[in-house]
Symmetry: C2
Subunit: 403 residues, 2 copies
């Protein structure tokens, strides 16, 4: 959904907005490939963040949650090691990572955020990180977005970037972003890493709710395997380099919120689409809910049911399992009012199966993206959530990869 | 765990207690194999039941829930068709099934309970059921338990029966049982069918809490895929044929409760062990919980995590995923107090990974049953829950079987 005030930049990413630089290097945290990414703005910025609710939150989460209130200059991200469940050592290492970046960039230590993803419970190889940070700082450039986007991947098969340009009176500004996903993706703080940058000038008090709202509509409505990781975070940072100032009043803030949400939507869709072993994206529209909480709970219950997920993998129009998962969602509804559609094929009405064309349904189920519409017929609330099937490959990946 | 007052009867089942008869016939609800089971006692009995919490509960659940308050004579069970999500037709068919059995057995219609398992959303072939009921009634016998146990299976690979003999002053009595499981097994009302019979005389007011307690300790602590089906129920029926009367006072009631629980434990373990595609049974002991609710929530969160399940399938000592699932359980605990053991190998202490012998852990993980102990170190509550791994075969079975 584009419109007249913004356009997508096909090659853009996290370093596209003015004043942003990025890099990504291989320093040996992983066995091979880039594993240390850096984002940097010389102009200090404001930040917003949304973080995992997992009680075993990595120290990266605790450090970054504190520091988003500061003027920020940089974001460090490593893959290959989650720095989680490491006791006091973990806190020491995350502070050290921020310190190393701050030293190379000559910025205050408190202006550096840190994120990690990878194996839980192993010590970070700090010598490698130290050498890598020097190289990452040296390689920073406005063209480095793709390197950073590659450096944060784990079992993802492709880098995930986005950039959007917005026209405002008096000039234009950009929103850029990158994300990683693949495993441990669940709607409750979308269990992944995503970093968004922009060159608008905006107060933290406006930026945080904009991100929170955007995440609720996007990252928090996707699921791959129903688990929150210990390390999830979505960060947005705004450095003001475009000269465009976003105030509370007027339509510019609404437009900014919309564009931020579109950028989050783009990244979250790519995360689902590139989920571990995914062969289908299930686009579930929940309609007629009495309130948003109910719609969300219902969407999660259905998209996290392994019986539903395996049925989609098998391309089976198995609406009974969707009803079964709905019946277990723990929300109140009238089973005798529920309608269900797979694509345009209505498979159940008023809680009861219809005789439908299995052939037509099969044609929908063969597609990469399968639209499913569930109408509770109780109220006006509606949302779209994305989930995935559960394939043999998912089992293979997760039976062998330690994360 | 046996002791001096009861013994297991290796060949026994649901028709072993005095006065009980059973049968199981093939009447074409499924493509092949027995699919209609019948239990019958000439002496009317008392009954207790525990039922699914799924809001799309099958009419069999509604009918049986009402009728357990009556004097009961019979239980009808079919496999191959769940009679769920069928609207008014479903209610009509379940009443008809009870009526057919009542007619052949010459008992009141209201004394017949009904259960179904199988595909959701298809009409029962009532002509087949009608012919099958006549044959099932004709074939009733005290040796028919095994036929009934076979008639209720879906993707199970083996019949599940149990029988225990209890010595009391003045004589002995029996508790028999049968169950089916395999898919859609989750701890919240263990998502399966189980039928227990006994020849004691016991008031319904004592029988219902005995079953509820037994189910809470057994069926409600097992999980295969985290979903409640629309049709689950556990039924116990007591006909008094042994002449032994169980009163509220005295140790006989406690012994009865223990034996009933042991019978439920035996059946529930077999359900997990025969779960779809299961290669490992995870025996999770949660210790040091502040209360039973917390212990249960924690056990479910861990045993239902697909990341945990696939790690066990891969025989990986992946304690980080167990912590991740624990951190998502939605209960309050102190991450820095948690200890974790795989078999006798301590893999984490005070929320932090230990360096442990991967070889020793691997030896435990290669076993069919893997004991895992999680200590929250908060209180005195403790429980044992059983879960399963998630294998390639699980995906194959559930990607093709419509239920």
């Amino acid at each position: 959904m584009e419109n007249d005030y913004y356009k997508k930049l096909p090659q853009g990413g996290v370093a596209s907005p003015q004043g942003w630089n990025a890099s990504g290097v291989a320093c040996g945290i992983k066995e091979s490939g880039r594993d240390l990414g850096l984002l940097y703005t010389e102009l200090p910025g404001t930040a917003g963040g949304v973080f995992t609710s997992n009680l075993f939150a990595s120290p990266t989460v605790k450090l970054s949650r504190e520091r988003i209130a500061n003027r920020v200059h940089a974001q460090v991200v490593n893959s290959g090691n989650a720095n989680a469940c490491m006791g006091e050592q973990g806190y020491k290492d995350v502070r050290e990572m921020a310190f190393l970046a701050a030293e190379h960039l000559r910025v205050p230590e408190e202006s550096v955020l840190v994120a990690s993803t990878g194996v839980i419970g192993q010590a970070l190889p700090m010598e490698n990180v130290k050498a890598g940070m020097a190289r990452a700082a040296g390689e920073l450039s406005p063209e480095g977005g793709i390197d950073a986007a590659n450096a944060i991947l784990t079992t993802d098969t492709a880098a995930k970037q986005v950039a959007m340009q917005v026209e405002e009176e008096g000039g234009s500004y950009l929103v850029g972003g990158m994300a990683k996903g693949a495993g441990m993706i669940c709607p409750n703080m979308a269990t992944m890493l995503a970093f968004l940058t922009t060159d608008v000038q905006i107060d933290r008090e406006l930026l945080q709710p904009a991100l929170q709202h955007a995440a609720d509509q996007t990252f928090n409505l996707i699921t791959v395997d129903g688990d929150n990781s210990t390390n999830d975070m979505v960060i947005v940072m705004a450095n003001g380099a475009s000269g465009i100032k976003i105030n509370r009043e007027g339509p510019a803030y609404q437009r900014f919120c919309s564009v931020l949400q579109e950028a989050c939507r783009e990244l979250s869709y790519r995360i689902v689409d590139d989920g571990e072993g995914v062969t289908k994206v299930i686009a579930l529209r929940v309609k007629g809910a009495p309130d948003r909480g109910t719609a969300r709970t219902v969407a999660r219950a259905i998209l996290n049911s392994v019986l539903v997920k395996t049925a989609f993998y098998g391309e089976d129009a198995n609406w009974g399992r969707i009803f079964m998962a709905l019946g277990n969602a723990g929300v109140d509804f009238n089973p005798e009012k529920v309608d269900l559609f797979i694509g345009a094929v209505q498979v159940a009405a008023q809680g009861r199966g219809l005789s439908f064309s299995e052939e037509e349904a099969a044609a929908v189920l063969r597609c990469r993206e399968v639209p499913v519409t569930l109408d509770l017929n109780m109220g006006q609330e509606e949302l779209l959530a994305w989930g995935t099937d559960l394939s043999h490959d998912y089992v293979s990946i997760n039976g062998s990869y330690r994360s």
